[in-house]
């Protein structure tokens, strides 16, 4: 029988984490599948389990100084039902797994599982989200991009727990998310694209572009984004092949049971084009028309 610890407080949990070589578990939706041994059998856990999903300290969802603080134990359903969460993030969450799994799965679990196909990750990267890592020695706050070090790998130390995710409360005028999967519900991502931007006077003020499931970790390039900021949407649309070429160098998918590398790459770049040509250009034209008073 594997040992289980079920602390009542975060403080107690951190003490146990420091004292024992144990496996933190929240909703269990990833771990129970990864450790499954098959029909009617107990999962194969080799380490004591540290149950943390119920901890009250990890259930908080609040806005502090224009930053959204999400407890690592908050389940996806509660994020979907929250008024604090931006619509684009809800669009992403609504396409994850299914209602009975979203009633169990926590945001912290999706991050710590660090799957290249983790669906919350492109948004968290694009928003420059930070993760709060606590231990009995104190806390570290680091960017999500630094926390996830590779497929299924994170910088979480043996004494630490991920306790909170901090997302700047920035909303964008233009948002486009596409998840490519075999079907709409309950599908694992073959490729994901997230584009967000603010446009004013026909010029791009801020832009965030992230690709999921097409490299070892989320693909986001601050360099390419910076080269786009300040340009007119017209120029960007004209230059789309050059931008596409730059991202093509960063998109390095694999062939697996779910999809082929070639398909993943092609569809990702097509989605990038769709974002620029359809969404960005359309919205900026609309803005122009609005400012001229053509459209209410």
């Amino acid at each position: 029988m594997v040992k289980g610890f079920r602390p009542e407080t975060l403080k107690e949990a951190l003490k146990l984490r420091a004292q024992y070589d144990c496996l933190p578990i929240a909703g269990g939706t990833d771990l129970m599948v990864q450790k499954a041994r098959g029909f009617a059998l107990k999962p194969d856990f080799r380490k004591p389990l540290l149950f943390i999903g119920h901890l009250p300290e990890l259930q908080r969802l609040e806005v502090i100084n224009r930053q959204i603080h999400i407890g690592a134990g908050v389940i996806l359903t509660d994020l979907l039902n929250s008024e604090t969460i931006p619509d684009i993030f809800k669009e992403i969450l609504a396409l994850m797994a299914s209602p009975p799994s979203r009633n169990l799965a926590s945001i912290g679990g999706n991050i710590c599982n660090a799957s290249p196909a983790g669906d919350t990750l492109p948004y968290l990267y694009a928003m420059d989200a930070q993760v709060v890592l606590q231990s009995t020695d104190g806390e570290r706050i680091i960017p999500i991009a630094g926390f996830i070090t590779g497929p299924k790998q994170t910088d979480l130390k043996n004494s630490e727990l991920l306790t909170k995710i901090i997302i700047p409360q920035t909303e964008f005028d233009i948002n486009m998310y596409r998840k490519i999967g075999q079907r709409k519900g309950m599908s694992l991502t073959k490729a994901a694209f997230l584009g967000m931007a603010n446009v004013a006077d026909g010029k791009i003020q801020d832009i965030r572009i992230a690709f999921g499931s097409v490299a070892q970790t989320v693909v986001r390039s601050g360099k390419i984004e910076q080269s786009i900021v300040g340009k007119s949407t017209k120029d960007i649309v004209k230059n789309i092949s050059e931008i596409s070429r730059q991202y093509a160098a960063l998109i390095r998918p694999i062939d697996d049971a779910r999809s082929s590398a070639a398909y993943r790459k092609k569809v990702s770049l097509r989605l990038l084009e769709e974002f620029f040509v359809s969404n960005l250009a359309k919205v900026s034209n609309l803005r122009k028309a609005q400012s001229k008073g053509d459209i209410e």
């Binding site: 040992k3 129970m32 098959g38 059998l41 149950f51 119920h54 799994s101």
Partner: protein
């Protein structure tokens, strides 16, 4: 590990491996065989039960996570007026063929209508997106849910 929880409105205290799946606990230790194992990976919904009123995949829940929770299986739910309404409507709409997936669909329907008593077709599809059926196809199940929402007005 000592696990104390409520099962079909009765308090239970047991000593089990905290990693044991709720699915196996319900079937093997409590003989509640409405809870089915289909895929064992949270994809098919045949093992759905209610945890604190919400549909969850019991194959994904380690026993350590049900402490202090209220678990309801079809065996407990079938005593309610809501169940009787869903049963009648599923029968009238032809929502059942082999029946293996049916307990999961019934529990998912209860969870959906509890949250949203008058769902649209799209909302029903999204609400049942965690359940697979290989016999009837989904149209007749969706019809059954629509019928339950209509006839059961006021129950949810």
């Amino acid at each position: 590990m000592k696990i104390e929880f409520t099962l079909n409105n009765e308090f239970k205290s047991i000593n089990v491996d905290p990693a044991q799946r709720l699915l196996d606990l319900l079937r093997e230790d409590f003989g509640l065989t409405s809870v089915k194992e289909g895929c064992g990976e949270g994809e098919c919904g045949a093992c759905i039960v209610l945890m604190d009123g919400r549909a969850v995949n019991s194959c994904l829940i380690p026993a350590g996570n049900i402490i202090g929770k209220s678990i309801v299986t079809l065996e407990g739910f079938r005593k309610t007026a809501r169940y009787k309404m869903i049963e009648k409507c599923f029968l009238d709409a032809g929502s059942v063929q082999c029946g293996f997936c049916t307990p999961g669909f019934v529990m998912a329907t209860e969870s959906l209508l509890n949250e949203n008593p008058h769902p649209t077709d799209e909302e029903i599809k999204a609400g049942l997106s965690g359940n697979l059926c290989r016999c009837t196809g989904y149209n007749m199940i969706i019809d059954g849910v629509k019928l339950a929402a209509k006839r059961g007005n006021g129950l949810w």
